[in-house]
């Protein structure tokens, strides 16, 4: 199987914030299936949609999408997150 044209952390960010596909889709004005397509890397969102998604999550767009694979979350990162939530 070939690599997707881009890599997305949308699913991770969405589930982390307990958002359904439908909620997110409604917020950015697309069909909920479109969110699924983007999460699976089967559809490259337009610049406008990518920016809308980034704005919705209050993140820079490169935190959601990348041309290179995202590094896996390592133990150090997870520890920092645990400390941050205490």
């Amino acid at each position: 199987m070939s690599d997707p044209p881009f890599h997305s952390r949308l699913r991770l960010v969405r589930t982390e914030r307990n958002l359904s596909r439908k909620d997110l889709a409604t917020a950015v004005g697309v069909h909920y299936q479109t969110i699924g397509y983007i999460e699976r890397g089967e559809y490259s969102p337009s610049l406008a949609l990518a920016l809308k998604l980034a704005r919705y999550f209050d993140l820079p767009v490169e935190a959601l999408f990348s041309l290179d694979p995202f590094p896996p979350l390592d133990a150090e990162t997870l520890m920092r997150r645990d400390v941050g939530t205490d």
Partner: protein, 136 residues
């Protein structure tokens, strides 16, 4: 059963119905039994549209960017296929002029139905399984 299997079942039923048009016309030799098949044809067309979220039928302004891209990308190949089928249909009609009314009407409706329904059929066949609304 997954959505994709259901959709493909629907597409197969649609094709079977199209095949039934000339068959019924040929077997009965009359026009009215062929015209009766228009009722299930209309019902199956509506079901096909519903199964694909109406992406092939909704107004363009009602589609989001991914749906719009899918709809546009589908029309490239089906247009060529449709044109070819139209020519074949014309030849079939010309050959059918000598046949009895039922067969001619059935063949005509099958060809027109196929030309009209081809984009929906292709889309129905290729659409992947639905994502859940909630997402995991």
């Amino acid at each position: 059963m997954q959505n994709r299997q259901r959709r493909r079942g629907l597409a197969t039923a649609f094709l079977a119905l199209l095949a039934a048009f000339p068959l019924v016309g040929w077997m009965t030799g009359r026009m009215w039994p062929v015209l009766v098949l228009l009722a299930p044809y209309a019902a199956l067309s509506v079901l096909l549209a519903a199964a694909t979220y109406g992406i092939m039928d909704r107004p363009l302004r009602g589609l989001d960017e991914r749906e719009l891209e899918q709809r546009r990308s589908l029309f490239r190949e089906p247009y060529v296929t449709g044109t070819s089928l139209g020519i074949v249909g014309g030849l079939v009609m010309a050959a059918g002029l000598g046949a009895e009314d039922g067969l001619m009407m059935g063949t005509l409706l099958a060809v027109v139905g196929l030309l009209y329904g081809l984009p929906s059929l292709v889309f129905t066949w290729t659409l992947p399984n639905d994502d859940s609304v909630i997402g995991e």
